[in-house]
Symmetry: D2
């Protein structure tokens, strides 16, 4: 109930603060007897890692995952997978100045209001550093889904007001070829330029990530409250800095007529258009699942903004620390990880529909 | 796991098909000893009811809720509340023609793929008629939240491309004064005109609903996976026809800079702007909670569109039945009901943070 | 969280008070496309019903179940099954005298302490009448398990100090041939005599029920916290008046040595003895699952016992109402229903172990 | 669903195998701002530790708990508590001989049937070594309950056929003064003698643990499925080697009459007897909560017993490893830990009954 669990049959429970000893988690419900590529998991963490390029936070975390249980002879045993990622680059002193103050648009104030105590170092539990555990669980989920040929294409489709015109399933190579993880070279270059410009001003900028999942069989998802896209939405909105979620046509649907929005069938059950985003009535229809996730600009800007102190004063103070000017390039593997966890969880849930 | 439950401490379990004997549900976790205004619950159902005005579906359901348990001497006892709403206007014959066919952009095909059997009458369980149970539970939640002075303002802010400029907390009287539940008279009139025009063409149109919740105390919401806005997002995306969700700045945040997006504090802990939508790090900050929900146009259009048959043929066939040309006016009480359930649930969850 | 749900993938949510309008529930997670024998469900309710013989409570409930959803053309659709059982023999006046008093060893006092309000008529929600919903859900679970050849033998093995020597799998005919549901005729006769004697004294007597489940495949059950026998234990202890649970050797194991208690293997994986009761490490081993459930004597005796009043006085008062002198004969179908729900739930849970 | 979680609002998720790198867990829902006595937690682990006396397994685990998150300045922050206990005395070679065989009355066979793969070293996940995580979580729960003056007395009340006559609340000093954790010196001595005798024969012996919890306020527990004693029963039955559970009068109730079993009230709401074991209708009544837990003899005996091989042969083979001749002395802190977790969880759940 305290919100550190995600999923039902494939379930991640995570723990850890930005500047504590370690972050980690427990993955329960991993199918048994799956051969694991441990290097592939580390590669996913590397995609999320700060310091991976000039474009992102220079915090120097190696983010090495250590698995403590759940595997035997290189295979999953079906028992819970415990894992930790140690924190080793803890510049806790950077945060002494916010010990008794709340930064604007951070969770400092709300954590203090909720708990009456907070680990102020780097945002504590509210830091996006928490997402390392998601990436580990998602990497495992993707390896399971690989056996079902379910594949993901996740990329940056907007930074500031520069956006990719054409969405769809882009190959991973194209996405990873770009520092900003946008598969279109010219858009990518403009985005990179915008991020660098923004950073030079001590400012930050928002963005949007698109995700497309192919080969999800028809019939996955639960009707009514646990619709597949409702759970995808929750998964995405639970990622730090996310402000919006669209499945298929999204907000554009509001301005459309039924006669243009309806996805007409082909004889094989596929549809001529995909405004539905691959889901009808909360259940996959076999078409690609397509959604978009909006991220706000990082709140930690290197400009002077007033903070609120514990005793109700406003105090001018520059935020220190090592921050991204734009979060979306590093958020791509996080979005993909959460999507993989949801799809695998619902795939497993669907197994109980028939005896 | 089959997705008929919503909530954790305040939990609704619902059942029922569009053309079955009755719909209903069980509400578990209702706080004890709360005096109930049963008429107010029926009024909420009346707001959702078809046939309430010329603008909406002429299906003639009275939608009378019968409570079977959970109350004594007009007060809640803390035990589960069972309730039913009988179906009495079942034009099941209207659906004979889709017995072996799948309507485009309905859930006919996905239910058949998932279950291998479906109640085709009126969409069965996939019908939006299911939302009556949500409205009942939401009405009870609102009565509880009234004791905490938590108040809701939910209204239509867009139909087609006509949209309300100014969002905020509008009084219920203004909203209910309009057939389309838009608090601005001139926008409302344009929306009504557009809906009527669309209906005359046998077509349908999408829309957007805004919700603003005042007086939610700071500190409500769980960090990490069960962020307050993540659960609100799931709640909204679980409503039929919803394609998008935005909290606070939403997708507009993607094009903003940190220096403009950050909500600077006042000395009392409130903020000068509210791009966050009342939630930071998944936890309420005491500012109004503001979100928007996008609805696609109703799939049942009165135009000829090809359906797919069970045996893989495409067949031209007009959809019968009594449908809305625009779903948003009647969806207002549903959005509000889901919001109330989420807020109450998280309010109760928060009680265990401190001994 | 308020405890009105049971199960995870096959889940019952129940509601209703002894003297309210109706009891009922929602069954979520029923596998789809299962042909249902509705008469068989009613027969299970008849086995639990008061007034079925001279031996039990003369309360005259017909206990007819009405299904409101979840079936189509006589088959389960996979969507939630709503059902109600109306109360029609409500002698609420019988309970006027306990309006402001607490009967000894009933839940009157604890409900008042917990909720600050209680429906005193017939014990309200605390009445064993609540178990009708369990019997309905269990009857459905048994029909599903029939397809897997999983079979139950549930019977009375002790009343007072009269006990059945030999436990095992007795045929249903033998069990149902006896008013007391004990498959051994001579033990049954002694038990009946004891119950009648006890009733004539205005007193009540306890008893024990044994349950044996055959053909549960090896591998069902979850390790660690959700061991199969742990969940069976919880299921049984949740039934009114239950004070103890034993799996296999039970408390007798405490006095045994490992060399006698260990179940040695046969070459086919079966075991020469079954002290384990068919479960090792929380997981079924393919042997019959065997457990016993102890029931206390019914608290409602027709003798004068002091009650406690709301304002802290002790008041001599005879309990009215129509009560059983021994609860175990009617509890047999309840024990079996709970066992069936647990086994089906864990059978379904096991499906996600392998991709 | 895979059973590695326990609790709802105060929730433990555990992981780890007997001979893996580490065991550990995540505790979610710890109330915030509680000052922690870390030494007291380690002391609880020491009570469970093998090698603590001549009477128990000589396995030399130091069992040092390392906390990775959830605390700040010595207080709980309300965020999840991650912790690990490293395995350092891994005699994995001891288990080479069971690599392809199943020991009688162990979980080797059932794990193989369920997962198709197993970590055979020391029983892997099925080892009672898993309970270290429970002891850590229980120690934290007890520290929280201390603030409410809720106190535990847990002790051995039976070994083989030697049993303690008088149950009740014994002071911790008396219990811990005895190697066998039985508070009566003469019984304790007989038990110790019996255990040593049994060990000298290469055999093992069962036992019973009693637990008494004082000062639980009236009103804790959920009616119907989540009765307080039902969840206590599940908690106890989930501990390795447990075969039976009794609340209050337990199986003895079966032979009692209502007139003797009923607990008559005193004017202050307490009762003259406590056959109910402190719980009526699933809800605490303010009297001491009393229950008993039966443990089977340890299956690992140092005598020759046939094992079953993977390929269906029976093979005579002595079990190696370092085992207890009687498990109950070391199980005392485990029983107490699980009881504390349940009581705290239900205490927190009860907070949402009233607004």
């Amino acid at each position: 109930m305290a919100g550190s669990n995600f999923g039902t049959l494939f379930k991640l429970t995570s723990f850890g603060e930005s500047h504590g000893i370690a972050l980690g988690g427990v993955i329960d419900g991993m199918p048994a007897n799956i051969e694991i590529d441990f290097e592939a998991i580390q590669l996913e963490l590397d995609r999320r890692r700060p310091g991976q390029s000039d474009l992102v936070s220079p915090r120097k975390e190696k983010d090495v995952v250590e698995f403590l249980s759940g595997f035997f002879d290189g295979k999953s045993t079906g028992t819970p997978i415990g894992f930790i990622i140690k924190n080793d680059d803890q510049h806790s002193k950077d945060y002494e100045n916010i010990k008794d103050s709340f930064r604007p648009s951070h969770a400092d104030y709300t954590y203090a209001e909720k708990y009456g105590i907070r680990d102020y170092r780097g945002g504590g539990r509210s830091s996006a550093r928490e997402t390392v555990a998601r990436v580990v669980a998602g990497a495992l989920a993707k390896q399971v889904l690989n056996h079902l040929d379910i594949r993901f294409s996740t990329y940056v489709c907007q930074v500031g007001s520069i956006s990719l015109e054409q969405l769809g399933f882009y190959p991973k190579e194209l996405i990873e070829a770009s520092l900003v993880r946008c598969p279109n070279e010219s858009s990518a270059n403009s985005m990179i330029q915008l991020i660098e410009q923004t950073r030079s001003e001590g400012d930050t900028i928002g963005g949007v990530i698109a995700c497309c999942v192919e080969n999800v069989p028809a019939g996955i998802g639960e009707p009514v409250f646990d619709k597949l896209h409702a759970e995808l939405g929750k998964a995405m909105l639970s990622i730090n800095a996310v402000k919006g979620f669209e499945i298929g046509s999204g907000f554009a649907a509001a301005a459309m007529k039924g006669s243009e929005h309806n996805d007409l069938f082909n004889a094989d059950g596929s549809t001529k258009s995909n405004h539905s985003g691959g889901i009808q009535g909360g259940i996959s229809n076999g078409m690609p699942i397509q959604f978009k996730v909006a991220f706000k600009p990082v709140a930690s800007i290197l400009q002077n903004q007033e903070m609120l102190t514990n005793d109700g004063a406003l105090k001018a103070s520059e935020i220190k620390g090592r921050h991204d000017a734009c979060v979306v390039p590093r958020a791509v593997p996080i979005v993909e990880a959460m999507a993989a966890m949801v799809i695998l969880d619902f795939y497993l849930r669907n197994k109980s529909v028939h005896l």
